[in-house]
């Protein structure tokens, strides 16, 4: 039991622009996160401890920083930079930090001329003349993922991250290979590098993603018979309890290109996957792969028929890049920083 304070790692947990779900997820890991205290001191956690930036400055260094939320404002950017230079290990926690997340969809509407929510700052400039009153941090020209402004060492995808992989991350990064047995989740589905690091305490290779290797289909409980895409159905039109693969029923389900790790959570509830774990390992662009996989299985060789089917599809970008527009959409993303 590493009760010796010297051994203890220092943690920082921070959310930029986003909901608090990621922090809740950390807070909630089997309601046992308090047992972390045996391995680590939480040195900076504004949401729960009310830590302020000067508390961070007091620390000479942070061992592991769990950063969640997308980069939307100048404030977020500063925070990311501050935390990066303090922290030895930077973990992008949750879809927003890892991929830009749903806030990233803003980039889409901004590309089509409409200038997001920026009128807030515009007013600022107009009224700058007025008597003193607080400024707002400027908005970034477009929503970014964490990896696009600082180097990120590890990713914990998911919206919110699933407990087992979040816990896997904490175990392998924080617990020096002596995580309490009662808390370790079934390591079977973990990629072996991660599994090994949990037991050995040797850090997994930089840049690893705390999620499965295959795609969601591998852990999805639904029965796959034969991919043949006949008619496009929208979720409100289909009522299904047959337990058959949703894609085979004409619902666009992104499980086929999405990294495994949720255990087929949405499909188990009867809803198509939307890819909150990001693209699978070898995929170049999730949207392109979805197009290819679905298109190839169209059940027709007649141009008109195909055109008719395609005509029904709505909002491909908003579906295929729901969580990943800023980082993984080939045409819309900027390269990661390192």
């Amino acid at each position: 039991m590493g009760t010796n304070p010297v051994l203890n790692k220092k943690l920082a947990i921070f959310t930029a622009t986003g909901c608090r779900a990621c922090e809740n997820a950390i807070l909630d890991i089997h309601y046992q996160v308090s047992s972390l205290s045996r391995y680590a001191d939480i040195a900076f956690w504004p949401y729960v401890l009310g830590s302020e930036w000067r508390d961070l400055e007091k620390q000479e260094r942070i061992d592991i920083c769990f950063f969640s939320g997308a980069i939307r404002t100048g404030g977020d950017r500063e925070a990311a930079l501050k935390l990066r230079e303090k922290s030895r290990i930077m973990v992008a926690c949750g879809a927003c930090a890892a991929f830009g997340g749903m806030p990233g969809l803003v980039n889409m509407s901004q590309s089509s001329g409409e200038s997001g929510q920026s009128q807030g700052t515009m007013d600022n400039n107009q009224q700058a003349s007025e008597e003193k009153k607080p400024e707002l941090p400027p908005l970034e020209p477009r929503v970014l993922g964490l990896s696009q402004i600082v180097k990120v060492d590890y990713f914990v995808p998911g919206c919110p991250p699933t407990q087992n992989f979040l816990w896997a991350a904490i175990q392998s990064l924080v617990c020096n290979g002596q995580s309490p047995a009662r808390l370790s989740f079934a390591a079977s589905r973990l990629p072996e590098t991660i599994g090994r690091s949990i037991t050995s305490g040797i850090l997994p290779p930089k840049g690893s993603i705390f999620a499965g290797e295959k795609a969601v289909c591998a852990s999805c409980s639904r029965v796959k018979e034969e991919k043949r895409f006949e008619t496009y159905k929208r979720p409100y039109q289909a009522y299904e309890e047959s337990g058959r693969c949703l894609l085979e029923q004409g619902l666009v389900c992104q499980g086929i290109t999405t990294r495994e790790g949720c255990g087929g959570l949405c499909t188990a509830v009867g809803l198509p996957c939307r890819g909150c774990f990001g693209k699978a390992e070898a995929v170049f662009d999730p949207g392109a792969k979805m197009v290819s996989a679905i298109g190839s299985t169209f059940d027709s060789d007649d141009a008109q028929e195909i055109a008719a089917v395609v005509d029904d599809f709505v909002d491909l970008v908003g579906t295929f890049y729901r969580y990943t527009l800023p980082t993984q959409c080939a045409l819309f993303s900027t390269p990661p920083k390192d």
Binding site: T3, A21, D28, H30, Q110, V269, L271
Partner: protein
Amino acid sequence: MTFEPLRWQEDPVRIAVFHDTEYLQAYFQVTAPRDIEWICKGRPVEELPRILTILSPSHHLASAKALDRLFGVEPPPMARNMREALLQAHIFRHHLRKLYFLISSRHNPFLDRQKRGNRGEPQLFPPHFLDEIMHHEALSQEAATILGGRCDHPLSAVTGGVSRFLKEDHYHRLSEIAEFCLKFAMRVGEFLRDEIFGDGKALDALGSTYGQNLQVEPMVSLTLAEKDGNVVLRDPVGKEMDRFSPDMMFEKIGFHNESWTHEPFAYIKGTSENATRKVQEQIGNIFHSEFPIPNPEFFFVGPLARLNSGEALGYPLAEEERQRLIEVLGPFPHFGVVAAYWALLVELVQAAEKMTGLYAQEKLTGPAIRTIPSEMGQVGHAVLESPQGLIFHHYRTDQKGIVEEVEVLGTGTGNNALRCLLTQKAVDISQARGEAWEETKNRIEISLLPF
């Protein structure tokens, strides 16, 4: 002077305090836009529950409700129960979490007990109670996960119902959880009464945080009447001043944008001199751009607003708790922080009671989980009492059901004026007492938490 970041706040917020001519002017700023409109525009409308769920689980439910309206379908009874059950689980979880924050407010709850001694940190009181809270936190999460498919960002509520049946073992577990939660709710009640609410000196156990109860000027409260599903406005003395159907929402409620915050101010179209002036005085001159009407009437939402109806609750234990509140603090309406915390407690008990009623197999079984819509409307809206207060959704789509317009009245907007008010109050008080800035921050956080 600015406080950033702030504890326990869902949105990214900061407090900016300015030395105005004669007094300190506090600004409660929301520093990042929500972008909801921009995220939702162009999405298929049936996806909204899965998108807006990032705001909070109750927004997920409200969105599904709005879709029922938009597609003109009536969810089967089982589905309605399941949604309700999910909502109660989240109310329980939400209130419990806030009380947890309250109790642990003076300590770092993540400090190893063995270390507390040698670090001179005060022991948690009572030992292990926080762990128990966490435990039941987790139980309510488990319930929410069973019902919602996921705890944060649930997804089971869909157009016209829910997306899945429950399985055998689920029923058993749910009723079990409900039992635990109810028992524990009572314990929390006892604990809070003995340790915190009871009398002034117990409050000091939490330090000077609120040696004296922080009160705001009486405000109008906006709530949803469960019986007829109408929205109700109660004036500061608690008597009903307006009752209208959700369709009227935007005729009655207006929004006002300030350049220094991303959160708009919601106000009632229609003015009432006296109350407003007092509120205005307290907020000070934070408004720089003109309101469309001279003296806008501000309102607030949330547990306290709900209880301010003064009506008796349908659930014995909760009603009991409410009576105790009245004994100590006097009859409703209340506008104090302690009352707000106590309101949380009352609703915690109520949620637990509702859960015990709802988490029964017969309630959560049925022939159908969804009704598939036959046609598609183009406008839908819904109003819902979320843990934090009344929320309202309104969508407009094109022929293909692609979202063209989304209006979401969240609790952040609804309580924006109140939060500014509380912040200013807290600052004034700690000024009067000449406290250090840390204290001020602490005071602000504690007083914002229960709303």
